[in-house]
């Protein structure tokens, strides 16, 4: 279990009730019951999407996430600001028409800074999650399939990796490498994948013993068919869900490192580093709210949205299985 991922069991807020509440059948249910002529079987992704789309909170979250991505990556094209050269004449300037969210202590426009910082946070979040999930999946699936002594050897390595408190090892790696954005991705991923590996290995072990996988063997199907047609498609759900939570974890870890002054080096920034900069003005007589609330809210909103999406994805993959 990773540091920040919610436990896997609870259903999401606003989870759709099972079946149609008024007793009528949806077309999908009708098709499943054989009441309607079955059309071409819909793809797994499509069924998954339908369940996902029923969850309004997840749709809103997806919209929020897309908005944040657009804000950070397209925003600077619409609202260009100089985020490289400091401008001390704008030192901590208050929000005004020319600077809607004011400026920070180096004279950077805070709204533009949010976009640039968000680029780092989102890039590192998604890339670190992707790297960790890829390594963890390969490692875990290999351990699970091979089994035996090799498996227990590989899993002790994972146990060891998970025993070292993640935050400490990430701090040490940041001190060693003074990471830029690219290196930061690996600093965050290099110890995160252990958690993914353990999960995928467990999933592989469970799936291997499922009746429908056993049935393939009994019916004379090849092992390759069992893996590609049954094990992988079912494990993909778990992996994607875990990957989604990993994105939120990575964004939070990066924010934490930034707050500790170990984030990406200036003039690059991320939301956590921006908060760290705002902290020293917290106790001043003036209220510099724009130094603290905007980056903080960006982190929280993004991570909540990602968590809700992950939750809905879990429901989508599970419900899809139930409906089949």
């Amino acid at each position: 279990m990773s540091l920040l991922t919610p436990p896997p069991e609870p259903p999401s807020v606003g989870a759709p009730p099972e079946g149609a509440p008024d007793g009528t059948l949806t077309s999908a249910e009708a098709a499943d019951l054989g009441l309607a002529p079955a059309a071409k079987p819909r793809s797994m992704l499509r069924r998954g999407w339908e369940v996902f789309a029923e969850n309004k909170l997840a749709l809103v979250s997806l919209g929020v996430l897309l908005f944040m991505v657009a804000f950070c990556f397209i925003g600077p094209l619409i609202y260009p600001t100089d985020q490289v050269h400091t401008n001390l004449s704008d030192y901590l300037c208050h929000p005004s028409a020319s600077h809607p969210l004011g400026c920070d202590d180096l004279g950077y426009d805070q709204l533009g800074r949010l976009m640039v910082g968000g680029q780092t946070s989102l890039e590192v979040g998604f890339a670190a999650a992707l790297v960790a999930v890829l390594i963890g999946t390969l490692y875990g699936a290999f351990a699970g399939f091979v089994g035996g002594t090799v498996d227990s050897f590989l899993m002790r390595v994972v146990d060891a990796g998970l025993s070292i408190p993640y935050i400490m090892v990430v701090i040490i790696l940041s001190v060693i490498f003074h990471p830029n954005t690219t290196v930061m991705i690996f600093v965050i991923a290099v110890f995160y994948w252990f958690a993914v590996a353990r999960l995928v290995r467990g999933e592989t072990l469970t799936l291997r013993t499922r009746e429908y996988v056993q049935a393939v063997k009994v019916l004379g199907g090849r092992k390759g068919r069992a893996i590609t047609r049954h094990v992988l498609p079912n494990a993909v759900g778990t992996i994607i869900v875990q990957g989604t939570f990993a994105v939120a974890d990575a964004i939070l870890i990066l924010a934490g490192l930034g707050f500790l002054g170990l984030g990406v080096s200036a003039p690059a920034t991320d939301w956590g580093s921006m908060l760290s900069g705002g902290l020293q003005y917290l106790q001043s007589a003036q209220d510099y709210w724009w130094l603290i609330y905007p980056p903080g809210i960006c982190i929280i909103v993004t991570c909540i949205a990602i968590n809700f999406i992950g939750d809905a994805l879990r429901d989508a993959f599970e419900t899809r299985l139930q409906r089949r």
Binding site: L3, L4, G256, L260
Partner: protein
Amino acid sequence: MGGATMTTFLIRRVLQSIVVLFFVTLITLWLVHLVPGGPVVALVGVRATPAQLAYYNHLYGFDRPIWVQYWRWVSQFAQGNFGYSLKNNQSVASEIQQYLPKTLLLVGLGLVVSLAFGIPLGIYQAVKRYTVGDYALTWVSFLGYATPTFFVGLMLIEWFSLKIPLFPSQAPQGTTVGQILSQPRALVLPVFCFAFVAYALWSRYMRSSVMDNLVQDYVRTARAKGASERRVLWGHVFRNSLITIVTLLGLSIPTLVAGAIFVEVVFNYPGMGLQFYMAAQNVDFQTLMGFTVIATLATILGNLLADVGYAVLDPRVRY
């Protein structure tokens, strides 16, 4: 479970932990070797001259084969020599002696507060699942997951210390646990900051654990025998759900470590977390490594205790 099975399980589990310990020490040694310039730079700092580097390289045996180094390093640790922080002119062991009790106090109080809220509210959520109250509390715990600990701390300072001056914005200062405890008002914000993050964890797990237990056969049996809902909940479900929490406590040490680091930095609480942060600022690898190995040992021990506790508490578990 028979006594023999239990003993076998214990022996196997301890052996596993020893193997894990071996890999952990390897990984940590590898981390020290990652430092540009090697472990000698990690020891004497980045400003040492080549002559000094060569001297200490030989003195500490970093020019010897890696397995010799490994053995030396591990045996030193086993003897309680966790390194020497030249930055603080203090042995890491004495740093730990000085700061660990204060961190344990913070974590302990935070745990008590978070469990006191998390367990009852988690049960409430499971019993009243899919109601307004459940959804509202779910939002609170999602907020707990998605909000960085340091931001929670910043908000607590902003609202309950600066805007509404109820509590001091800085944690209690002092060298002993007694001095810390003598300033209870200053302890409130750090403890609640810590508790908020841990609360999300406990309430979430408690909710799902109670929900899992409510559909078990033994609950149906108890109801069929005419047990009241109160008795079903507190006599059967609560006790079984608590096993999950006890296990989780053992597994949650990395999370608690992370919480302690951020809370101590935000509130300037004089514990291991703040010391770890300052070591990161000062590039003091001896302190960083020493503290990390200690926290890792605690994690391994916690995992072991969680497994053993689970086996002892839950008679259904068979190994």
